[in-house]
């Protein structure tokens, strides 16, 4: 067993900041990477779930995102911003999934709405209607709108997470809101 594995065998819970864990993970510590995973996976799962509108693909997206993150960790310029960086990676994966869904829907002329379940019937109906309307939006509008209106991210954060300018984020959210309003009014 090499030296790095041994250092990794210490429980990581004492390490309090992401930057330290990232530095250890870059040096080969599996334990540090696992600590980063445990610290952030639930949060990223929640964001991914709301963006996708269902649970079926969440684990796949998370797996791809953490694998991408592991491979690109050396290039992370601000280790303290690990969570935002990880969410950006997950969002890139969500873009691809949503685009694929739209292609399939177009090819199959099949309007199967993916929407998350909700506990009470009233909320369930509203959630289904909302995600039905969201499913008609392109990913580049749907994702900023969801991050802003459901996850409560600020416009600058939406811009950073979607890797677009604040002005573009604002324009896309407004565009998405207008389309959603029209569709929900007609529904």
């Amino acid at each position: 067993m090499n030296r790095m594995d041994l250092r990794a065998s210490y429980p990581a819970a004492v390490v309090s900041d992401d930057a330290t864990l990232v530095a250890q993970a870059r040096a080969g510590s599996e334990r540090a990477f696992e600590a980063l995973y445990r610290r952030h996976v639930r949060y990223v799962a929640g964001v991914t779930y709301r963006l996708l509108g269902g649970d079926a693909e969440v684990d796949d997206v998370l797996q791809e995102a953490f694998l991408d993150a592991a491979g690109a960790l050396a290039g992370l310029r601000e280790p303290a911003e690990f969570r935002a960086w990880l969410v950006r990676i997950a969002i890139r994966r969500v873009y691809r999934r949503l685009a694929r869904r739209r292609r399939w829907r177009w090819l199959q002329a099949d309007i199967e709405v993916v929407s998350p379940p909700a506990s009470d019937p009233q909320t369930r109906h509203r959630v289904h209607e909302l995600y039905d309307a969201l499913s008609r939006l392109p990913a580049k509008l749907r994702i900023p709108w969801t991050l802003h209106m459901i996850d409560g991210e600020t416009l600058p954060d939406v811009g950073r997470l979607c890797e677009i300018s604040v002005a573009t984020a604002k324009r896309r959210i407004a565009d998405a809101a207008a389309r959603l309003d029209r569709r929900l009014r007609d529904a």
Partner: protein, 337 residues
């Protein structure tokens, strides 16, 4: 439009510890596969360079290289299973397959030593029994050695669950454990530097710390403990960890060192010092995730030390705080014991 502010709260995935653990397993497997692909690509590139260089030498010198003498590592007896897992045996090793299905692989080690490289598969139980000891794994590398009276288990990578007639313990990479082969009281893997009295709280730790003649830096002590653990010198590892904790009680790594010290002491059957180390860790990290693990490990150690009341009270405290925690089932067994 403005969504209901309660919408976000209603839109959370059904997350659980089990799901989190399964996903972590998938990610670990994915990382291994990517690593293998990268290594294969490098090996292929290396082979091409080597082939080119060899061709140049043969053409230029026309002297064939002498054959390499010696026995290759592949000549060791090896058992390969359907899922790609392997056991490499010593000459006196004897392992038989009791069961091999998609859901369960069960091996029985009858003698000698074997090193197991187990393919990760969360859907399959992989069990190795040796005497009265059973090792349960998901995907890892570990060794089992059958001695005259003991079964020694050591883990190189991943985590295994070791069960004997008395209890179940987790071993992680770098840890080893010596258990009686047939239900007799456990013998420590090596003699401790001094034995703690049966009833007093464990002073062994403090005396170990005092035994160190000079005071190296905290990082040096941890490195020394790491090296000692890797070499199986658990008494030396415990000494270094205790020295670290004594010299650097405010260091952020102190709680982790105490936790590791508890594991080291438990692995060699020093249950009271182990319980004491876990207690100190839980106190140092009150409210943190490590404190929960320390509380549960401490309860197990108190139980093994024969202090049942203390074990039960710690187990109840754990269950009160984490009724659905990772150690909940084990803690309930302690409470009901």
């Amino acid at each position: 439009m403005t969504p209901d502010p309660k919408l976000r709260a209603a839109l959370e995935p059904a997350w659980s510890e089990l799901r989190e653990q399964r996903l972590l397993g998938r990610i670990a497997e994915g990382r291994r596969q990517r690593g293998h692909r990268r290594r294969r690509a490098l090996a292929l590139a290396g082979a091409m360079v080597l082939a080119g260089a060899t061709a140049a030498v043969v053409i230029g010198v026309r002297h064939p290289a002498p054959p390499v003498a010696g026995r290759s590592a592949d000549s060791a007896p090896r058992l390969t299973l359907a899922d790609g897992s392997e056991a490499t045996l010593t000459p006196d090793g004897n392992v038989q397959i009791d069961e091999q299905t998609a859901a369960r692989v069960k091996l029985r080690q009858r003698s000698g030593s074997a090193r197991y490289v187990v393919r990760h598969d969360p859907a399959r139980d992989f069990l190795v029994s040796a005497g009265d000891v059973t090792v349960r794994v998901r995907g890892t590398i570990f060794s089992v050695a059958m001695r005259a009276d003991t079964v020694d288990v050591s883990v190189e990578r991943g985590r295994v669950e070791v069960t004997d007639a008395l209890r179940t313990r987790d071993l992680v990479a770098g840890e080893s454990l010596s258990l009686p082969a047939h239900g007799r009281p456990a013998a420590p893997a090596e003699p401790p530097p001094e034995s703690p009295p049966a009833t007093a709280p464990p002073p062994a730790a403090a005396s170990r710390a005092r035994a160190a003649p000079a005071r190296p830096s905290g990082s040096e002590l941890l490195a020394r403990a790491d090296a000692a653990r890797a070499a199986g010198r658990s008494a030396e590892a415990a000494q270094a960890l205790e020295a670290f904790v004594a010299d650097h009680p405010r260091d952020p790594r102190a709680a982790a060192a105490l936790f590791t010290l508890g594991r080291v002491d438990a692995a060699r059957g020093q249950w009271r010092p182990a319980a004491d180390a876990f207690d100190r860790c839980a106190a140092a990290r009150a409210g943190g995730p490590l404190a929960d693990d320390a509380l549960a490990e401490g309860a197990q150690a108190w139980h093994a030390a024969g202090v049942a009341d203390r074990a039960r009270s710690d187990a109840r405290a754990y269950l009160a705080a984490h009724p659905a925690g990772l150690h909940a089932a084990a803690m309930r067994r302690l409470v009901d014991d």
